[in-house]
Amino acid sequence: MTSVDSVAPSAKEIPRASDALAIEARDLAKTYSGGVEALRGVSFSVRAGEVFGLLGPNGAGKSTAVKILTTLSEPTGGSASVFGFDVVRDAREVRRRIGCVAQASGVDFAATGRENLELQGRLFRIPAQELKRRVDELLELFALADAAHRPSRTYSGGMKRRLDVAMGLVHRPEVLFLDEPTTGLDPESRAVLWREVRRLASGGLTLLLTTHYLEEADQLADRLAIVDQGRIVAEGTPDGLKSKLAGDRISLQLVESAKSAEARQLLGGLPGVTGVLADAGRAERVYAHVIDGPRELPTVLGALERAGIAVAGVALTRPSLDDVYLNATGHAYQES
């Protein structure tokens, strides 16, 4: 791992990947012409060699951030740089250094797997001999060698995604952007892709990945930022974020949502309870953070019973990113 406080290199100077900030976003904002604010001031930095995750529900602004960082979209506020090159002013220098795997694929269905890879390589000006070797190598690596000569429209979802990732890697980029890489994949293909991401990361490649799967961010990212409604609401390592929420969570489902406020007040007054939250979207769901779950559970349920607040369901869980998200945004995470 590199040091946290390394300085971004000045533009026009190609830095060594190991001692630099790979990506820096400063107050990025994007308001579309219709008035929709996709990003409302997002700042984060990614160190070279790191796997950084942007986690958030659909519509949080993750893809917009990726589009700005990959020069496809222009921010309406703030700035961003990749290895010191400004994504607006030095867009071409940025493009030379990045690989993109967008949400909307990018595979040309009419072309074969090999042709898709070769087109990328040519546009990145890789000499013919070297390109041939590189394409063979990637086809082998991503288990596409047997299908290399087939039009990619005949590929399965998992194969298309693998080809997508391979296309992002042809020119040996210094940063790879993966926008929702496993959305729509079956569990097996997802596992294959996770393995691939880990392998790339261990090879020293900087990765920025967006996902709306909590588990994916937890499993893959060295550090992550939780994005909600165009803002970053929490940032840190998955473990660091979770350890801030010491203790356990008691999730309660009340029979009547009208009793939500009363229940929260009651639970907040109990000595073992460190925090109480209600789901902003569904008031009948009340969450109590407790230091020692198994010990406090009977107390909590007893108190509710004495107050005449009926409980329809209860669960006791260790803190997860779900809690981090709930804590930061005030509403429960919905993976959809």
Partner: protein, 256 residues
């Protein structure tokens, strides 16, 4: 240089995709041939109208149908761009160091080449039906060139609409809105001598008509100076359309 190289690389991608669509190729060849045969038969007696100014309708029609094919064929170029947008292929290309203009130029070249070949076939069929290339082989090449230039310009316009609207329905509506008026304010099917005065005035500023008159002059081997002027105007028009389409990437980028 990089621009030309990228244009060529991207053009080859489009050609390869075309070569894998045998039905498209067969119909692209059959359609203009059918048009010459059908329009030729339908309008055969039109030349007998006093003042039409031509003796054989096939002779009159061949350059016009060559340009018509360019107009109708190239109008769909933007649909390919839309498919690239939807599949994410365009974004992937835009994230490479390739010159923006080359993405447009490749599509213009593709339309231009397709139309060039079609125009040659049309002239060939017309000659089998009795038309005579008074302008010789050079004249035939001029017909093909005029068709390519118009095809490139129309393709550029179609791509610009695709980038700005990013909707199939809009591209189809805009192109249909443009194509038919452009066809009927030209001497494609009807001699300029017989047009109402206002249509003649419209025809004078209609690039489709420039292409038709240039192609006809080439085929007949007449008015070389006016022909050169019209081809230059067409080339300039194609360039303006191409720059407009390339400029549309800026708008696309802001809308992303």
């Amino acid at each position: 240089m990089e621009f030309l190289r990228d244009t060529w690389i991207l053009f080859l991608r489009l050609v390869r995709a075309t070569m894998r669509m045998p039905v498209f190729i067969i119909l692209s060849i059959a359609q203009p041939i059918l048009w010459v045969a059908m329009f030729g038969a339908l309008f055969r007696s039109v030349v007998q109208i006093p003042g039409f100014g031509a003796t054989s309708y096939v002779q009159f029609l061949a350059p016009g149908v060559a340009i018509m094919t360019a107009l109708f064929g190239a109008a769909h170029s933007g649909m390919g761009m839309l498919v690239d947008i939807e599949r994410g292929v365009l974004d992937r290309l835009l994230a490479t160091p390739a010159a923006r203009g080359s993405i447009i130029a490749a599509r213009l070249l593709n339309s231009g080449v397709q139309v060039f070949i079609q125009a040659g076939l049309i002239v060939g069929v017309a000659m089998l039906l009795g038309a005579k290339a008074q302008g010789g082989v050079g004249g035939i090449l001029l017909v093909m060139l005029a068709a390519s230039l118009l095809g490139a310009a129309v393709a550029a316009f179609s791509n610009a609409v695709a980038l700005l609207a990013r909707r199939q329905e809009t591209v189809i509506a805009v192109m249909n809105f443009v194509i038919l008026p452009a066809t009927f304010t030209s001497s494609m099917l009807m001699s300029a001598n017989l047009m109402p005065a206002w249509v003649q005035r419209a025809a004078n500023v209609n690039p489709v008509n420039w292409a038709i008159v240039a192609a006809r002059d080439g085929f007949e081997g007449t008015a070389p100076h006016e022909l050169a002027t019209r081809l230059a105007l067409l080339a300039a028009f194609a360039l303006v359309c191409g720059l407009f389409a390339t400029g549309s990437f800026g708008r696309y980028r802001r809308a992303m």
